[in-house]
């Protein structure tokens, strides 16, 4: 078992399983920075996965598939912003509504475009290729992990670095954090709260879109209804445990992915029914939430962050 966990396969595959959760975690990270609990990441990922699958199948271009998935994610964010800022619907309610909308719309679109129900496996999406750097990828253990990954892995790493730079080193990032910390105070010093939130949500949409594209164009070769299976929510949980820190968010997202991979991989090794193994990622999330909340030092810090929330809600 220990050998298994420290093997090259485990390193590579756990990342492959974690990628959708990592994207969801990044999406949750940026929306949380702007003071929004965006539950709609789940639904956005589903719609983006559908868009990626359909567009890549019809255009036979994976680039177009990814682009349309990202655009779909941003569109969902735009709709969410309209609900929250324009109609002044509570963000959690809007999230639930849009998730419901996404699950209904996905089936309707699937049926209208392809005349099928459930999934697009009859018209498979074009897969996003793996980028292989010859020579370097032959290095044992870390070679394949670092130099023979899917294109989206490199996209994720560069975007994560970019995201960190934007949040920590730019005016926009400062504005987003100010809005998230205290919207009224931010408004009083002349920051355009609505516009800043919109930008943050659009960035969030990009990550949800990439997560969706990964699901239907890398993880599987088709879209299926319910394929997100709570990964968006697990990403939100990863962000909650990362407590506003990008690196820890990434770490927890990867950890949940590793558990997910373990649950799948162990099905052929361990004599445990697959139904029970399937509970592991969710169980792990719950346990991690409990452990995190028990740590007194961390809790104090997060409470300080939580305090201004009722104020920011009004903005």
């Amino acid at each position: 078992m220990i050998d298994f966990i420290f093997s090259e396969t485990f390193l590579v595959s756990s990342l492959a399983y974690a990628m959708p959760i990592i994207f969801a975690g990044l999406a949750a990270y940026i929306s949380k920075k702007a003071g929004l609990l965006n539950i709609n990441i789940e639904g956005s990922m589903s719609m983006a996965a559908l868009a990626g699958a359909l567009v890549s199948y019809f255009s036979q271009s994976w680039v177009l598939g990814v682009v349309s998935a990202v655009i779909t994610g941003m569109l969902m964010s735009l709709v969410l912003s309209a609900c929250v800022m324009w109609l002044k619907t509570d963000s959690v309610l809007s999230g639930i509504a849009l998730n419901t909308l996404a699950s209904g719309l996905a089936v309707v679109i699937l049926f209208a475009v392809l005349g099928v129900q459930g999934d697009t496996s009859s018209s498979p999406s074009l897969m996003i290729p793996v980028l292989n750097i010859p020579g370097l990828s032959a290095i044992p253990i870390i070679g394949r992990f670092l130099f023979q990954e899917n294109v989206l892995v490199y996209v994720m790493i560069s975007l994560a670095v970019l995201l960190w730079l934007v949040v920590e080193r730019t005016r926009l990032g400062a504005h987003i954090k100010a809005v998230g910390y205290n919207a009224q105070a931010a408004r009083s010093v002349g920051i355009r709260v609505e516009r800043t939130r919109l930008v943050a949500l659009l960035i969030c949409g990009v990550f949800s879109g990439l997560g969706g594209a990964y699901l239907s164009m890398v993880y599987l070769s088709y879209f299926s209804v319910g394929m997100v299976a709570g990964r968006g929510f697990i990403g939100i949980a990863a962000e909650a445990m990362g407590a506003g820190n990008l690196l820890s968010t990434l770490f927890f997202a990867w950890l949940f992915g590793a558990v997910d991979y373990f649950a799948t991989g162990a099905q052929s090794v361990l004599n445990v029914p697959y139904e029970l193994l399937n509970t592991l990622p969710y169980l792990m999330t719950v346990i991690a939430l409990v452990i995190y909340s028990l740590k007194p030092g961390l809790k104090k810090r997060s409470r300080k962050q939580r305090d201004p929330k009722p104020v920011s809600k009004e903005g």
Partner: protein, 362 residues
């Protein structure tokens, strides 16, 4: 003087209620329009699909019964969510609790040897108890550790779903049946039909009774008062001596138990075996029902029946045209966004408030 103030307040309350009714109706109309537009774009013969969708529930006795049958799970989960939102808790465990109720209702009714009247009662109360017990976990996590109940309850839904599926596949399976299902519920374990022709079961009466009971509980008991105070202003509730943490835990356990009871009642009333392979989404539906009913349990059956009508129509539309019944999720989503939107039609409210101010002579 006091009487005049009271009269003014009553008039204002009425105006408020009228405004809310207007907003809800507008939301319904807009949501239906969105659905009709989608049908128009996706269907080969949209006119026929729309006609079936809106007319079919009234065209046959069976279809009419479907309006009521479809509303039953929505009433249960809607009432459960109402209580929890009133306490300020966004807990979605009703989804998992309802699933637990359905599975264990079927298993207990098929497995226990008890006389006719007692068997269904036991087969409803035990699943309710079980759902409440499981619901205690996310509830306690919220009240004791301040873990967001929304995320944790969602995780619990997935865990419960897989555990139930494991139990179904390995322990509760009927080996003699052609597909994956529990054993047949014997007649002694079933809830009787109110009308045999359209298969409306007496679980509808239980649902209605529960809605009235929940309304009474919320508005006329000390516990209900504690729940409302906790939801409206936890700090103040704490100040006047309400044990906020206990209320938060209790209310979520109660909600889970109601959902569990509902799952069992729905199963015993309308099915002969448990054979679900996915979560039926009634928890999220309940959330939407509760919001549209303004978290008032008495209004829940009304909203649920309307949704039941849409579902009955959509089911017929899916059968006899080329539109899937998932259109109802789009309708529900639009309604939820609009009804939940404080800014939606708020200009009407402002106008009516100005009018009230003028009439009040102030």
């Amino acid at each position: 003087m006091i009487q005049r103030v009271k009269a003014l307040m009553r008039a204002d309350g009425l105006r408020q209620a009228f405004f809310e009714v207007l907003r809800t109706l507008a939301a319904i109309v807009l949501a239906l329009l969105v659905a009709l537009l989608i049908i128009l774009f996706t269907s080969q013969e949209p006119g026929r699909a729309i006609r079936i969708f809106l007319q079919a529930p009234f065209l046959s006795s069976y279809n009419f019964g479907q309006i009521i049958t479809q509303s039953i799970p929505l009433i249960f989960t809607g009432v459960a969510v109402c209580l929890m939102i009133r306490a300020g808790q966004f807990n979605l465990f009703v989804e998992g609790a309802f699933f637990v109720g359905m599975l264990f209702g079927a298993v207990i009714a098929a497995g226990f040897k008890l006389p006719a009247v007692i068997l269904p009662i036991v087969a409803m109360l035990l699943p309710a108890l079980l759902a409440g017990l499981i619901g205690y976990l996310p509830a306690k996590m919220k009240s004791a550790l301040n873990i967001n109940e929304f995320v944790s309850s969602l995780m619990f839904n997935f865990i419960i779903f897989w555990v139930c599926l494991y139990l179904l596949n390995h322990h509760f399976l009927d080996p003699e049946y052609s597909s994956l299902a529990t054993r047949t519920i014997p007649p002694a374990g079933k809830l009787f039909f109110l009308s045999v022709t359209n298969e409306v079961s007496s679980s509808f009466l239980i649902a209605l009774g529960l809605a009235v009971l929940a309304w009474f509980f919320l508005n006329h008991t000390r516990w209900g008062y504690a729940i409302r105070m906790t939801g409206e202003n936890p700090e103040f509730a704490n100040f006047i001596g309400i044990n906020v943490r206990a209320v938060v835990t209790r209310t979520q356990v109660l909600g889970a138990a109601i959902a569990g009871l509902g799952g069992a009642a729905f199963e015993l009333g309308n099915f002969y075996r448990f054979n679900l392979k996915a979560l039926p989404n009634y928890g999220f539906d309940g959330f939407i029902i509760a919001i549209i009913a303004r978290n008032n349990p008495l209004l829940v059956p009304l909203v649920a029946l309307f949704m039941g009508y849409l579902r009955a129509g959509a089911a017929q539309m899916a059968l006899y045209s080329d539109v899937t019944n998932d259109v109802i999720y789009i309708i529900q989503a639009v309604m939820l966004i609009l009804v939940g939107g404080q800014a939606f039609l708020s200009f009407l409210k402002k106008r009516s408030l100005r009018k009230a101010a003028r009439e009040g002579g102030g």
